[in-house]
């Protein structure tokens, strides 16, 4: 095969891989001009090359696609779903033909005319849908296919180039001493530039971003999901983590298999999901990040999960586990059984995931490169698989900091931000001999880097704080003297003597040629005893019941029932003359000491004399509750048995085995306020009208907190003060937006969404947005 053809094939392949993500994104939004242009350029280039390379079939296909895309660009045609699918089918075909040309295998042209016909302006939906050949059937291709090199040769190149960089630095130093002339300087600059370019190129030859692996996933998920009748959305994070190319190739197949599994066996059909109270569209999350001296790749789905006992049953049925081993097997151990060869938990081995690669092969592949794979699952909630790959050679974007003259690197992935200590934004205080900082309402421990490393005593006041978040969710601030630059560092494993300290992730040689250590932030947190919160990425659970007791005032109510109210709400208890009570507008008011307030009474009031009242206050408003007599102050459980109807009673607690109704202060205050100023309650627009959760759980909360609730599907009455949304916000409404997320942990450091069950957080945010809006 001649050079021109080889070049064409490599280039076409590379571009196809590169625009795979673009294609899926374009499908989601066919009006996206940039993406359309990218795809157009691709087919245009292919068409051009086909001409002089004499590839008539490819030429026909690319030409047809180019025409359609040109029409879309010029606006002569609009993209509908059928057209998008037709274009994608043609592009797939171009890929297959390219493969066939390279392998020399003949590829039948059956259906090709159909593909082209489907692009025509008046094409009807094809009766036999032209299916793009699923990715599963394509031979697995390796990134390095166009040229093979022994790895040692590349390593030698890298070492030589690094030496060259050092020599360049040395030369630069000496030149500075002699103050070179213009031409000498210019020549050095040119040399320096070339050295820099070469260093980058050589480094890239060995490393690649894991994105090259992730790029093929959106298309795969889309195709598989539609084939299986599932609805699924793919979320990918950490694509910029760089790995040795060799390693990427070795985890390509396992990763693909895990994704297929998640779609085939994990994520349920839309009806099943709906019946289980889940969103119809399943979520597949793939996250790559560096942790210690490993790269972690998590594949998580929110599907039906794996039942450890069922796995055990199948393992025993297959004779892989004996009865004696089975008893006393822990849950984790049972889940691990999925990695046994010859085990399949699917009711039927489908053609998608049952073919060739099994979980046992996934594990074997990982172990061959010194990695591992772990599995966690919650029945009904999903599965999380964690692939760990050793950090042999990686490029990590990192921040350089220094304390007491020593320099350290911190991976950018764990840095939430950098703040200057002091001032109201980052207030430092000493608690129990240790430092803490208050940042945006959160209290974080402060660790002085110099002191932790034994390099210096703690300074009088920390200057710069690097706010860190470990993979486990622990957050703390590292006080440093200075923050330097931000580089992409080539990190190599540190010797066991260094790793034994538990606080380093590797060693690196930055541009100044001084060896530097990369910090393992999780290890530092552990060594320093930092634990702010342990959060596991789990789907939303019901808020846990706490066996907490709250002091409450026990009293006999006017209707003879024994009730209680939370003690902090009771401001005072006194007697008032019954003449001060008036009925007005369907409610009772009490005039006392020149002030008028709402009076609640659960039974008939005496007609003369005095009545005992509790004055309840929520800090701002005040109301009175008439009682018969106070019984005692007791501790009652915080968790109450709920009552079905909203009203003055929040729930029932047990006191000495007898049920006691507990007053619902929120309802009381809400109804008191309601009679006074109904229209003053701010209007909150809930965007997720179709979400049962929004109607059943969010709305009552908002209502009780004093907001009027309107749904996006209805026309709002009055000005919308704030919008609460989990997904899209309605168009045409100008108001601040509060985003809700379903999991407790934030996905990105700059994510300002609020966990849907963080009641306090949500109410605070509502207050802030409404107040800001005026």
């Amino acid at each position: 095969m001649d050079d021109l053809l080889t070049d064409f094939i490599s280039e076409t392949r590379e571009t196809l891989d590169a625009i795979a993500g673009e294609i899926v994104a374009w499908e989601a939004d066919p009006t996206d001009r940039t993406r359309l242009d990218a795809i157009f350029r691709f087919v245009h280039t292919v068409k051009g090359s086909c001409g002089f390379l004499d590839l008539p079939r490819l030429q026909r296909l690319s030409h047809a696609a180019e025409d359609v895309l040109a029409d879309l660009r010029s606006g002569n045609r609009t993209a509908d779903a059928a057209l998008v699918t037709a274009v994608l089918a043609v592009i797939d075909r171009i890929g297959e033909l390219t493969d066939a040309i390279e392998s020399g295998e003949p590829l039948s042209d059956e259906g090709e005319h159909g593909l082209i016909a489907a692009l025509a302006a008046n094409a009807s939906a094809p009766s036999a849908p032209v299916q793009p050949v699923p990715q599963a059937a394509l031979p697995t291709r390796s990134v390095s296919r166009s040229i093979r090199l022994p790895v040692e040769l590349l390593d030698r190149m890298m070492a030589s180039v690094s030496d060259m960089v050092l020599a360049r630095n040395d030369l630069a130093q000496r030149l500075r001493e002699i103050e070179p002339s213009g031409p000498l300087n210019a020549a050095f600059e040119r040399l320096s530039h070339c050295v820099g370019d070469m260093r980058e190129a050589i480094t890239r030859s060995r490393m690649a971003r894991i994105d090259t692996l992730f790029a093929l996933l959106p298309r795969m998920v889309r195709d598989l999901a539609s084939e299986l009748g599932r609805k699924a959305v793919l979320e990918v994070d950490g694509g910029d983590v760089e790995l040795d190319r060799e390693l990427i190739e070795m985890i390509r197949d396992p990763l693909v298999h895990l994704v297929r599994n998640a779609l085939d066996h994990g994520i349920e059909l839309p009806e099943a999901r709906r019946a289980a109270g889940k969103a119809e569209t399943g979520l597949l999350r793939i996250v790559a990040r560096q942790a210690g001296n490993q790269i972690l790749i998590e594949v998580q789905d929110d599907g039906r999960g794996i039942d450890p006992d069922r796995v055990l049953q199948r393992a025993m049925a297959a004779g892989l586990v004996q009865a004696e081993q089975a008893s006393g097997m822990s849950r984790a151990r049972k889940l691990e059984l999925v990695f046994l060869p010859g085990l399949s938990t699917a009711a039927s081995v489908t053609s998608i995931s049952g073919r060739g690669v099994g979980m046992d092969v996934v594990r074997a592949n990982l172990e061959r490169i010194g990695g591992t794979v772990d599995i966690e699952s919650r029945i009904g909630h999903g599965v999380r698989l964690t692939l760990r790959v050793p950090l042999t050679l990686t490029i990590i974007p990192a921040l350089t900091v220094s304390s007491a003259g020593s320099y350290f690197a911190i991976p950018r992935s764990v840095i939430e931000g950098i703040v200057r200590a002091g001032g109201c934004a980052a207030r430092i205080e000493r608690i129990g001999g240790a430092l803490a900082v208050t940042l945006r309402g959160a209290h974080l421990p402060v660790l002085d880097l110099g002191r932790f490393m034994g390099l210096a005593d703690e300074p009088a006041a920390p200057q710069l704080l690097v706010v860190l978040r470990t993979g486990a969710g622990d957050r703390f601030a590292l006080a440093v003297d200075a923050v330097h630059d931000h580089q992409e560092l080539v990190v190599k494993p540190a010797s066991p003597l260094l790793m034994a300290s538990g606080i380093y992730a590797g060693t690196t040689l930055p541009d100044n040629s001084r060896p530097m250590l990369l910090l393992d932030v999780a290890g530092i947190a552990a060594a320093a005893g930092v634990h702010t919160a342990v959060q596991i990425q789990e789907p939303a659970e019901e808020p846990e019941e706490r066996a907490i007791l709250l002091p409450s005032l026990l009293f006999r109510d006017l209707d003879g029932a024994t009730r209680a109210v939370r003690l902090p709400l009771v401001e005072r208890i006194y007697d008032v003359p019954v003449e001060g009570v008036v009925a007005a507008g369907g409610a009772r008011l009490l005039a006392h000491k020149g002030r008028v307030s709402t009076l609640h009474a659960a039974g008939p009031l005496p007609t003369e004399g005095t009545i005992r009242v509790l004055r309840l206050s929520d800090g701002a408003a005040m109301l009175h509750y008439a009682i018969d007599e106070v019984i005692d102050i007791v501790d009652l459980e915080a968790a109450l048995a709920p009552v079905p109807v909203a009203g003055p009673i929040a729930g029932v607690a047990l006191h000495q085995d007898l049920p006691v109704e507990v007053l619902d202060a929120h309802w009381l205050f809400a109804s008191a306020v309601r009679t006074d100023a109904e229209q003053a309650r701010p209007l909150c627009l809930v965007a997720d009208a179709d979400d049962p959760w929004a109607r059943e759980v969010l709305t009552p909360l908002l209502d009780m907190a004093g907001y009027r609730v309107s749904f996006a599907s209805e026309a709002p009455e009055g000005r919308v003060a704030v919008i609460v949304a989990s997904g899209e916000t309605p168009a045409g409404v100008e108001a601040p937006v509060i985003r809700l997320r379903s999991g407790p942990e934030r996905e990105r450091p700059d994510d300002d969404s609020i966990y849907r069950y963080d009641r306090d957080g949500l109410l605070r945010a509502l207050q802030a947005r409404v107040a800001a809006g005026g």
């Binding site: 890298m158 070492a159 690094s162 030496d163 960089v165 050092l166 020593s406 490393m453 034994g454 390099l455 190599k492 494993p493 540190a494 010797s495 066991p496 003597l497 260094l498 034994a500 300290s501 606080i503 380093y504 060693t507 690196t508 040689l509 040629s513 001084r514 060896p515 530097m516 250590l517 060594a527």
Partner: protein, 143 residues
């Protein structure tokens, strides 16, 4: 079995290392300290593009540390894919010597723990160092 050995000096005591284990002999001018590691780890040194963990052989042997200066002698070795630079007081020679024999003398404490035998250089007996033990810095397990 005859072999080639590198002869170095640690605190006036000549020591031997199999030449096959030694990558090179270098002069170190500056060591970057590493906090929170064991005492015998002097720090890091970059040899061209390779980062070596520097070990102070005198500290391993329970002696006062090697004097720091711009010309510290070190022996570069590789153990388990990691590079180490073993600081010594001086490097003398590479010689041929007889096969190692068990130590005749009753060695004191540390020397006993890190010596793998003696080799004969002419008339003299030179202690052969147990390299992995020196790097680990720990007294090796009783045989």
């Amino acid at each position: 079995m005859e072999g080639m050995y590198l002869i170095a000096r640690i605190a006036d005591q000549p020591v031997a290392l199999p030449a096959a284990s030694v990558g090179s002999v270098i002069e170190i001018d500056a060591i970057v300290p590493v906090p929170r590691v064991e005492a015998h780890v002097a720090g890091l040194f970059a040899l061209r593009s390779r980062i070596l963990t520097v070990i102070d052989s005198r500290v391993v042997l329970g002696l006062t540390p090697i004097e720091r200066g711009p010309h510290m002698a070190a022996v570069v070795v590789t153990v388990d894919d990691h590079g180490y630079a073993l600081l010594v007081d001086a490097v003398e020679d590479v010689v041929e010597a007889s096969r190692p024999a068990p130590c005749p003398a009753i060695l004191e404490g540390y020397w006993r723990a890190f010596a793998a035998g003696v080799v004969r250089r002419g008339e003299d007996a030179v202690l052969l160092l147990d390299l992995p033990a020196m790097i680990a810095g720990r007294l090796p397990q009783a045989a």
